[in-house]
């Protein structure tokens, strides 16, 4: 019983110690894309994530900068919605279905059909 209490007491500490609490955590990672339309699509998809505050995708470098509240969301959640919108990133690859839905000028993958 004493042991259980001890464990229960430690659970919150374990959870929080994974990532320090940060309301404005900043991250920068690669997202594949090509054009202005991609930029709009990528940024718009990230805004569906609760806790995301700022999102800016740079066309020449293909890098996305985000600022988010890490108590409300995680980087993986953000990367997931981007992949769902059709854009490969360092964590998730878009499904062929999502990719094929992209406008023809946004097809960033190498394989030519």
């Amino acid at each position: 019983m004493k042991k259980l209490l001890f464990i229960l007491l430690f659970i919150p500490t374990i959870v929080f110690s994974q990532e320090p609490k940060n309301k404005s955590a900043k991250a920068d990672f690669e997202v594949k894309g090509l054009c202005d339309m991609c930029k709009t699509r990528i940024e718009k998809s990230t805004y569906t994530v609760k806790g995301l505050k700022y999102s800016n995708w740079d066309i020449p470098t293909n890098r996305l900068t985000v600022i988010y509240n890490n108590q409300k969301t995680s980087l993986d959640d953000i990367k997931k919605v981007i992949a769902d919108a059709g854009h490969d990133n360092d964590k998730f690859t878009a499904t062929d279905e999502a990719y094929n839905n992209l406008h023809f000028c946004c097809k960033y993958r190498d394989d030519k059909d």
Binding site: L34, D36, K44, Y47, L52, Y54, S55, C105
Partner: protein
């Protein structure tokens, strides 16, 4: 029926030109990875019709008849010529050039010199420096003659001053700011637009309708903000000389010094004078004043990009002298036999700005503005002495951030301003201090797709206006990629500076009927107005170019409008309109079109401006009922940095109502027009010469001064002017630059 057919035909034409566009993408491959090429030149073989690729290597180009070969080039790559048959989309890979000799092809992209903001909810037109160069002249009041967003009218027949108007209301109802600090207001209202030399200006933003609450509660029909050239990006040296056949000489010099990586400063020096006495109409009065002006500005910029800090310091001094009236008039002692006047203005301006953007959190920023200025005008117009001095302090603090994410932006801030006026008018001293403290909040929403909105609210506590709220709303909705609708609504307030704003009163022997003018706020209630408006903007693609068709409509309704009443000859009066609300309606249809190196702007404006005078509801005098505007500009291709630029403007003012007077036995003035034109020869990126003409068709209002031959008659009046009094004038000038 015919209308309908014409409409359909137009639509087919539009669709036809749509389908005649081909688009594509230019890339190169490196180690199997595709990289888009931005800025590659695309043009039809053996033509000068072309475009350049955008950020993702994408381009759109209009097909032209009988040319099937497209040339694609980029520095460092082989130039390719490809055949386009019926293709709509092409993807082309360029390969690296083998030889080291680069075939330089320069096609500079031409940006429109008047840009409408398609994405912002406010109806803002940005006038670039290039647009200002279309009319070589000379200061802010003359900067609007080549575009239809602002009307320029003649103020009177004596001082040569130009009055600007928006939506049928004069400049006191426009918030005129310089780098977002109120500039032409109060004492400087009549002559202040002539105190910003044209060469200093980097750009002008004209906002039609309500402005933002962050800039105060004063704007009623619009806002004009002028940005001065910034030391950081300015060229090391600029010199300009100008000479006009009316005797006006102007010289401008800008000198930039770099103190360190972070600190730059530019000194702006302006001098102008006119010593020549012009009397083209033979009325023995000067058509334009004898004048000189010295204007000095020292501008300092501190930039620390790594820490997100930018700061400006401006110090400015102005000395302006004008002599007006009879051509034989010399000094005040001549007043016993001749009518004349002198206006001496001294002004000192200083401002400090500090901006901070959090480098870690780019959506958080803080802005601070502090400005102090002193304005002193001493003048006499015939037997009317008029002096005014104004000391102003302006402090503004703005914080920018977001709510939950950057789709929802907020601005919040505090604002303090104080103005002390000291006037001497009709042999009485009038003193007044306005002090206000306010807070504001502005919320912007953008769904990143087709809708955005800005809502602002401010609360001010003012020693003479009391405490009040000022709400303002703007929205924009995109019906499709090419069609946007914008709307705005809001209120504004203002204390009428009766004499400073209406110095034409002194250019006549009109008797002042207002006996309470020395009382608080000249014995009238402050003005309050509501402005509502909307605009429709449709992009069109035709004949291989791009254009916009824009309609807008604005309504301004006043509570307590202050009426300046000139309706009875020999008398003037001012009062709050008691019989009803004064209204101003304005409608504008505009067509903009540009293709390659030429562009046109055509506009039709219709005004319905009515006020309740003591004698009943009347149209605003000297307000053209409609205005027709046309501008055409063309530029030749640059060969070794040399080219020609030409532009021509046609402006037709419709019928205007005249107040009853002993000169004119009719109520409406016939329409008239004027044509201005300018040609510029660019000899190199450093040197250019321009030559131009104003009012080339030489239209002149006859007898602009009533009783010019007897200026001491009670009916003498130089305020009833409805057209140019000078006729045509020609000028030439040069510009010399040293580039970085």
């Amino acid at each position: 029926m015919i209308k309908r057919i014409a409409f359909l035909a137009l639509f087919f034409l539009l669709n036809y030109s749509y389908s005649q566009t081909i688009s594509g993408k230019v890339l190169f491959k490196d180690n199997g990875v595709d990289f888009p090429i931005e800025g590659a030149n695309i043009f039809w073989l053996n033509t000068n019709q072309g475009t350049i690729t955008k950020a993702a290597g994408e381009f759109n180009i209009q097909k032209i008849r009988d040319v099937k070969s497209l040339v694609i080039s980029y520095i460092g790559f082989k130039t390719d010529t490809i055949d386009i048959d019926d293709k709509k989309f092409i993807t082309h890979y360029l390969t690296f050039s083998d030889d080291n000799e680069l075939d330089e092809v320069t096609v500079s992209k031409k940006r429109n010199t008047i840009q409408r903001t398609y994405l912002m909810p406010q109806n803002v037109v940005k006038i670039s420096e290039e647009e200002l160069l279309k009319a070589a002249c000379c200061n802010l009041s003359e900067s609007f003659e080549t575009n239809p967003s602002v009307d320029v009218n003649h103020n009177d027949a004596i001082t040569g001053t130009k009055q600007i108007e928006m939506l049928g209301l004069k400049s006191p109802y426009i918030l005129i700011t310089e780098e977002n600090i109120p500039m032409v207001r109060g004492a400087s209202q009549t002559y202040g637009l002539g105190f910003t030399p044209g060469t200093w200006i980097e750009s002008i933003q004209v906002t039609k309708g309500m402005g933002s609450v962050t800039n105060g509660y004063e704007s009623i029909v619009g806002q004009i903000n002028t940005e001065i050239k910034k030391p950081y990006s300015d060229m090391p040296f600029f010199f300009n000389l100008f000479n006009s056949i009316d005797g006006r000489v102007e010289a401008n010099a800008h000198l930039k010094s770099t103190i360190s990586d972070k600190i730059q400063t530019t000194s702006f020096i302006h001098y102008n004078n006119r010593e020549k006495a012009n009397d083209k109409n033979g009325d023995k009065f000067l058509d334009k004043p004898i004048q000189d002006q010295l204007n000095l500005l020292s501008k300092w910029q501190y930039t620390d990009a790594a820490n997100g800090i930018v700061s400006f310091l401006n110090i400015r001094y102005l000395d302006d002298n004008k002599k007006v009236g009879s051509i034989d008039f010399n000094e005040k002692s001549d007043l016993s036999r001749l009518w004349g006047g002198e206006i001496f203005t001294n002004r000192f301006d200083s401002s400090f700005k500090l901006g901070y953007v959090n480098p870690k959190i780019p959506y958080q920023s803080l802005g601070f503005q502090l400005a102090y200025n002193f304005h002193d005008q001493e003048s006499y117009y015939g037997l009317n002495d008029y002096n005014i001095s104004q000391k102003s302090l302006f402090i503004n603090l703005i914080y920018n951030s977001i709510i939950s994410n950057t789709k929802n932006k907020i601005k919040a801030g505090l604002n303090f301003s104080s103005d002390s006026y000291d006037e001497f008018v009709f042999k009485s001293n009038i003193e007044r201090t306005d002090r206000s403290f306010g807070g504001f909040f502005e919320y912007s929403f953008d769904n990143l797709n087709d809708f955005n909105l800005v809502f602002g609210l401010r609360y001010d506590n003012h020693n003479n206006l009391g405490s009040f709220f000022t709400p303002r709303l703007h929205f924009r909705y995109l019906l499709n990629d090419n069609f946007s609708i914008k709307g705005s609504a809001g209120t504004g307030r203002k204390i009428a500076n009766i004499f400073a704003e209406n110095q034409v009163i002194f250019l006549s022997n009109r008797k002042n009927l207002n006996k309470t003018f020395t009382e608080k706020l000249y014995g009238v209630n402050p003005e309050k107005a509501t402005n509502l408006g909307f605009s429709l903007d449709h992009k069109v693609f035709l004949l291989g170019g791009q254009g916009n068709i824009i309609f807008d409509y604005y309504n301004t309704t006043f509570d307590n409008r202050v009426i300046i009443d000139f309706e009875t000859p020999g008398e003037f009066n001012f009062y709050n309109s008691k019989l009803g609300k004064s209204k101003s309606n304005s409608f504008q249809a505009e067509f903009l079109f540009s293709k390659n190196n030429w562009n046109i702007t055509a506009a039709y404006k219709k005004y319905d401006v009515k006020s309740y005078y003591n004698s009943g509801l009347k149209e605003k005098p000297l307000q053209p009922r409609n205005i027709l505007f046309f501008n055409y500009g063309i530029e030749s291709n640059k060969i070794n940095d040399k080219n020609w630029k030409f532009d021509i403007t046609y402006n037709r003012l419709g019928k205007q109502r005249l107040v009853r007077n002993p000169r004119d036995n009719f109520e409406l003035v016939d329409p008239h027009f004027s044509i201005n034109s300018q040609i510029t020869r660019v000899f190199s990126s450093k040197f250019e010469v321009y030559l131009g003409g104003e009012n080339i068709n030489n239209f002149k209002q006859e007898d602009p001064i009533i009783m010019a031959n007897n200026p001491f008659d009670p009916m003498f009046d130089a305020s009833i002017v409805h057209g140019p009094i000078f006729g045509s004038t020609y000028y030439m000038g040069l510009r010399f630059k040293i580039l970085n």
